[in-house]
Amino acid sequence: MSEDAKLKPAPDSPEEMSRRQFFVKVGAGSIALAALGTAAFSYEYLSPNVLYEPSPVVDAGKPDHYAPDSVTLDPQTAIYVVRASDGFFALSAICTHLGCLTAYKSDLGIIACPCHGSKFNKDGVKIEGPAPRPLPWLRMWLSDEGNLMVDRSQAIAIKQLVRV
């Protein structure tokens, strides 16, 4: 017991550590720092900086191509160009449930999702189904050439029609 007491550091210097304890702390600290760095580098490496994905801006062509009171799906870009009686608007065709491509049923006048049965009306408003939100309206404008342009990355909160 008395020998143990001799080996322990004096109680009046609690911050004193042995050489071994010091190097263990330095070693463990370095490994922790290296692990953090590895995690950060891995995360950065796994996140691509450049994406070779199609542009979110879509040229939907001349307004005259769309018949009055029509809903036209472009499956490649996953947008609906809707020509209402007083103007145009663009609707995302991607179901807000789990991302399937919806389809317009002209006989029923509704937009339906084949995956889990969500239904929307022509304005994107949800009628039924598991979808949590309506189909978003996308920003649409007329280009200088008079083409309808749609930005798929920008949903608009206030519904506005593009009048031609």
Binding site: L46, S47, P48, L51, G99, C100, L101, C115
Partner: protein
């Protein structure tokens, strides 16, 4: 004739080359048998001795062994399928069709891979239920149950990542739906989906990531945990043979 064959086997087992690989040598005493198991890197994962009851069909219905069997079929057929498959869009779909219609025995290997995958998922669940209803998950085998759950998850992830590789409509929309489910994770859902797909949509990057996961990362993970799973069976006292009272009555 039988005598000379036995002598030949003994001669081989006594030869210097054989003894350099398998140290136990000739003879079939219990010591020889246990040395044979102990000194083999693969066999030493298993118990040296097993109760007769544990190797009977009724004890396990051989569900774990059959799961390993399907896994081995999947590794072999999978490696063979890799020889004709390019993980790039849209080439992957054409390669899958080539495997079905052009490559000799391609359709056989592809279907063998597919049905073994279905069988493995079924067998993993059946194995889990069997272990659960027999109570074989209880002490001292709790940790092996946990490893089993990890293996169940790895099996399901292998199924899921393999599902995208044919690059057909079914694959595309299944992974679209699946990656959107992942994005429902609170706070970092969108980031998880981005890392998983290597982009914002299911495209060439997603195909390549799923391919690497399916062919390298997940099989190696499975192999690692399978090894520990088998070794733990030995360490936890062999395959569960029933509770102690029945063990005593069998003796």
């Amino acid at each position: 004739m039988a005598n000379t064959a036995d002598q030949l086997v003994d001669q081989v087992r006594e030869s210097r080359i054989w003894r350099s690989i398998f140290r136990s040598g000739k003879g079939d005493s219990n010591l020889h048998k246990s040395l044979f198991v102990q000194q083999n890197v693969f066999l030493h994962l298993f118990s040296i001795k097993a109760r007769k009851r544990t190797v009977e069909f009724s004890a396990t219905w051989y569900l774990g062994a059959m799961t390993l069997g399907t896994f081995m079929i999947l590794v072999i057929t999978g490696v063979l399928l890799m020889l004709y498959y390019h993980p790039s869009a849209p080439q992957a779909y054409a390669d899958m069709k080539d495997l079905q219609y052009v490559v000799s025995s391609g359709v056989f290997l592809r279907n063998l891979h597919r049905w073994s995958a279905h069988a493995m998922v079924f067998l993993v669940f059946a194995h889990m239920f069997k272990v659960f209803y027999r109570g074989a998950y209880r002490a001292p085998r709790e940790f092996n149950w946990v490893i089993g759950v990890v293996l169940l998850l790895v099996t399901l992830l292998l199924s899921y990542t393999g599902y995208l590789l044919p690059w057909d409509q079914l694959a595309y929309w299944a992974v679209t739906v699946g990656s959107n489910i992942a994005s429902a994770v609170p706070l970092m859902g969108a980031k998880i989906r981005f890392l998983m797909l290597g982009g914002t949509a299911v495209n060439a990057n997603a195909l390549l990531r799923f391919y690497v996961l399916h062919c390298v990362i997940l099989p190696l993970t499975a192999l690692l945990f399978i090894t520990v799973h088998f070794w733990r069976v030995r360490k936890d006292g062999g395959i569960y043979a029933g509770d102690h009272s029945s063990e005593r009555s069998e003796r």
